[in-house]
Amino acid sequence: MEIDPTAVSLRPFRISDADDFLSFAGDDRVTRFLRWKTLASREEALATIRDVCIPHPWRRAVCVGDRCVGFVSIWPGSGNDRCRADIGYCVAREWWGKGVATRAVRMALSQVFGDFPDVLRIQAFVGVDNKASQRVLEKAGFTRDGLLRKYAYLKGNLQDLYLYSFLSTDVVPAD
């Protein structure tokens, strides 16, 4: 059942998000398709928020009400790659299937081109088996550029990845 979209918000991370952060970043089902190592303690959660989330060029806590239930990150390129940025995201298991990630990605798209004026292209790399994430991107209006064979390792396994993109001139489909 889809969540009321207005219940989802994005905001910067806070140290006080540590317990919420641990509850999803410590869940193998959530980190399965991420390059992260699953967090194992509150100390690791605090350190990650302090050392990675807060200084990050663009990482937002995905919140339902005031509870942090996921993240979305944008990494812009530099030099000749400054026109593109990579997007990554995850959502806590108990919030899957409700449109939270799609809502969070749509909100990120509405902000990020203003925050990074050089960026004209947002791209996402998605495992060929990660159907749920492919649906998130498609519902948010991304185009599938192609299949990149044996592109990268994920937790020791060589992956075929789909590359998706969304341009500053593309339109987010109506809800």
């Binding site: 000749n80 026109c83 299949l147 592109y151 990268a152």
Partner: protein, 185 residues
């Protein structure tokens, strides 16, 4: 039948013997011929090398320590170069990006295609044992370069819109790849 025999003696287009070898500082004058060619620089992100000292510094600082950088030689003389990058992140170590350049006086004879085929065989044959994938990113307007890759057995994977900036303009690019497991069927 005789024509086929001539083609397999790796003298593509009757141009002479093509070979790959590591670059040396003493290649600097040959390097400057292609590094100064505006027809080539059009699709390249670098500016022409007008100074011999800059060229020497580039050979010493970037080319000699490179994980895979080769001179493309015609009858033993360097007429171009190619390279396959190495990525820093462990998760990206399986792939390297191929780039190549050939002096414009030698275009249209199949030299680059042959050189790319030889490089893929070397790279996957032991020069870069960690690589599973060699990829190439080509400007959508650079049709000659796309043909090189197609003829060299690379697969076209898709078009990436507004992928990079070239001399101040945003460009669409085509992604090509060849895997260590691909064969030439």
């Amino acid at each position: 039948m005789e024509e086929q025999k001539q083609q397999t003696a790796h003298t593509s287009g009757g141009a002479g013997a093509i070979s790959l070898r590591p670059m040396q500082l003493s290649d600097v004058d040959d390097f400057m011929v292609w590094a100064n060619d505006p027809d080539i620089a059009r699709f390249c992100t670098w500016e022409p090398y007008t100074s011999r000292d800059d060229a020497l510094a580039y050979i010493a600082g970037t080319i000699l320590p490179h994980p895979y950088y080769r001179a493309i030689c015609l009858d033993g003389r360097p007429v171009g170069s190619l390279s396959v990058t190495r990525n820093e992140a462990a998760s990206d170590a399986c792939r390297g990006e191929l780039g190549y350049v050939l002096g414009s006086g030698y275009w249209g004879r199949g030299i680059t295609t042959e050189a790319v085929k030889m490089a893929a065989a070397e790279v996957f044959g032991g020069a870069r044992p960690e690589l599973e994938r060699v990829e190439a990113v080509v400007d959508v307007e650079n049709e000659a370069s796309q043909r090189v890759l197609e003829k060299a057995g690379f697969r076209r994977e898709g078009v990436m819109r507004k992928y990079f900036v070239l001399k101040g303009r945003t460009r669409d690019a085509v992604m090509f790849s060849r895997l260590s497991t691909d064969d030439d069927s």
